[in-house]
Amino acid sequence: MPFNQKPQKFNAKINSVTIGSGDKTVTIGGDSTFPFYTFDAPSENCPKIGVEISDMGLEGVSEGIKAYYDGASTMADIAKKAAAMEGADFVALILEGGDPNGENKSIDELIAVVKEVADAVDCPLVVEGCKNVEKDAELLPKVAEVLQGRNALILSEKEENYKAIGAAAGLAYNQIVGAESAVDINLAKQLNVVTTQLGVDPKKIVMNIGSAAAGYGYEYVVSTMDRIKGAALGQNDNMLQMPIITPVSAETWGVKEATASEADMPEWGPQDERGIDMEIMTAAADLAAGSDAVILRHPESVKTISKMIKALV
């Protein structure tokens, strides 16, 4: 019997959202198939990769990453090298130094870093907060303000601070709002609902539905992404049709597989390779489950995932 292909057609689409301004922009989302189901319909925009850099510079990064940025002494240098990485579509600046439980850098200090990075590169920009909801509520509106005209993606607005960040990024300064929830389809949807009720255009929202490193309760991430895509396409639920971005590296470089030194764990092999493996495995799974963009750190991971996307789309 001949093979008779029956494409799965949906009368719904993931929103396409363009990040960045001028000549250099990236567009994520836009597909009306499950991830990489290019046999059902061609992909509008293949998944994109961001390279994460931190306001903490190269402090605490792995040897391989350090080697890549060798010679970069300022945030501007680091940003330029990140933008030039093979396979990179955008740069993601994480302001982890702002965490009150960590370095607790002042907002002025962090804004100076944002400006330095924004001036150094003209590629699309994503800015991630410090993960503390109160601090982010003050910090991210200021970030949105200094990036006026850049059409940047501001991560992350959460349930606790959605008004401040949603209003600043989405309304006052016309950036893209990144809505972050904790691996739960209903919370993700609820945040999109209240953000749009503020007046933010649904087409200017990107979701970060939460993540985990592969092997760390990761099944929840897969099933949540799966259900979100299912509802967005199968049920035409327009409060779940925002594309998904997943910051992978912030999760994977903190787990023991990536942090244990080779001296402590000789049977596990070289530390840098393990970090790359965790990053690649997690990112590949995120993309297969429904992420429209991932954020990575290691040049090797970026190269590999970029190759994977090209091979599948």
């Binding site: 509520a137 008004k163 006052a172 389809i185 609820q190 609902v193 009720q197 503020l198 007046g199």
Partner: protein, 708 residues
Amino acid sequence: MTLFESVFAGNDAVYGLTENAIDEAIKAHGADKAVSFPNTAYSLPCYYAVTGTKVGTLGELKEALGVVKTLMTREKRTHDVFMSGVATALCAEFIEVLKYIDGAVPYEEPCYGHLADAVIRELGVPLVTGDIPGVAVILGKAPSAEEAAALVKSYQAQGILVTLTGDIIDQLAEINYKTGANVRVIPLGKDVTSVIHVVSVAIRAALIFGNVKPGDAAALMEYTMKRVPAFVNAFAPLNDVIVACGAGAIALGFPVITDQADVARVPKSLICQTDISKWNATSLEARDIKIKITNIDIPVAFASAFEGEIIRRKDMQVEFDGSRVDCAELVQTCDASEVEDHKITVIGPEADEMELGSKNCIAYVVKVAGKNMQADFEPVIERKFHNYINCIEGVYHTGQRDMQRIRISIDAFNAGFRIKHIGEVLYSQVKNEFDAVVDKCEVVIYTDPAECKRVRHEVAIPTFEKRDERLDNLTDESVDVYYSCILCQAFSPSHVCVVTPERLGLCGAVSWLDAKATNELDPAGPCQVITKERPIDENLGSYEDVDEAVKKLSQGALEHVTLYSIMQDPMTSCGCFECICGIEPFSNGVVIANREYAGMTPLGMTFPEMASMTGGGVQTPGFMGHGKHFISSKKFMKAEGGIERIVWMPKELKDFVAERLNKTAKELYGIDNFTDMVGDETVATDPETLVAFLTEKNHPALALDPMM
């Protein structure tokens, strides 16, 4: 003079002034002379927003005045009044823009005049988040500088942004009252027309934050009405021009409060309040502004860390004990006029007038008022009191209704904690947590024994009885809607609870009233309304509406759910069920096991084994999770015959439900002491012994048709 006449006269006067001013300016500078406000991308923001046209030159300004004239219709209808108000505002904007010709700087310290777009972007965010809960537009000359300062200070204390127009600016300057954007008091200018600069802020907020298209006047007014929490305070005497400006403010949805006694009042929009010390409260109520309470004014800490704190007798200053003396805690819904917000009264002795270690009476009545408040929410709010009072450092609370017990520690007492502070805590927590339904809140605390006795027996107990009666009378048929609950989807993704008055959530924690309150307080939250307009089979409890909701909320995992059957499309379970019932084929009945029961059931399965086939959002006909209180419901597996199918329960559970279950059995089937016929683990844990027991007791299930 009527309101119509005042507004029209004021409008005409301002129009005349504007026309002259424009003509003079054209004479002096020529029609091609550019006019603009500095630092805005919105031309003349008010005119641009209303008409969609940008004005760049004096000649165009003259044309624009012609457009304004068309708004000035003179029928005696409210629409004409509003439009004349808008026309007056636009004229004011024209007069103001003329002041800026040639890059002039018409305003100097402390006045601001026109505000730049950047200021609006900066103010917009705190306005959206509620950090700036409102905008007060104060106009004219206060009776005295002190009263002016007191009014402004009252708004500052609430975080409200204050703008000043007219003589009040000089009055505050005379007494060296600090003004400026950094203290959120912005003097605009001394001419009445400078008030347009705050209107311009509201209007640009609509363009920037509301995505309102310039020229869409209806959308503009809807935005300012719904989203810009501004109001006007205008001091007497009011002239026609101010009244006409006021009509413009009302058109944008901003109420006007004045002390001019003879003003023509318009309910909720033009309000006379001759006591200026009450302007703050009147304005907030009229504009429906709620102030977030960030710190509770008590001498000890308040945090969930203190929730589990226990006060021993030797550490105790005083205690209150509902099991020994008269106590009560009660929420009462009142009319807004009967509640004075944040008033806390103690009737009877304070803690420092009570003997060390003594047992006392206490009854606190929290009076609430709100447009969305319903009596059904009273017990929902009341149930939180335990948590609120427990979170106070050095205070402990157990029980509820008229059986609560409170202890105040010696340490808390020595730190200055008094009974009135319980009122502060209740006030601030109720206002914060229930702000969606509570607009005003007042607390009365009785410690006088006679008063406590009266409140308990004449107010509280009758209220509790009435509520219980309402709960008893609530049936699935008597309500118009059911509620969904998807609180547990985080770990059970395809499960949806349908909560009805006679079938509470299977966790036992979400009743229909709880779901209703949750929906009201958090409209985008886990509990959504399910209509019941299209029944398919009332006996099964199947509805098209329910099926649609379940399908949508389970993302398509479930297609059909019945409310009253365990055989056909039974309701799913997340895993939080208090009980599981399962079919027992030998007796045509069902066995119920509760979570606490660790032994074997006659099904040959333990509770965890039954749970493994019932949880996770799957439908297994013959098995169903449910709450304990559902067992005595008349809707319990009604489609299969109801509670007379119950043949076995663990003894503990049977004792727990006996009274209510027997009552239902009597009502439905005329059976006395039904639970005596129901087996338990002391009778049998295998089907043969159970059936022998049921036969001996003549259990009705044996005579029923098999369920499968």
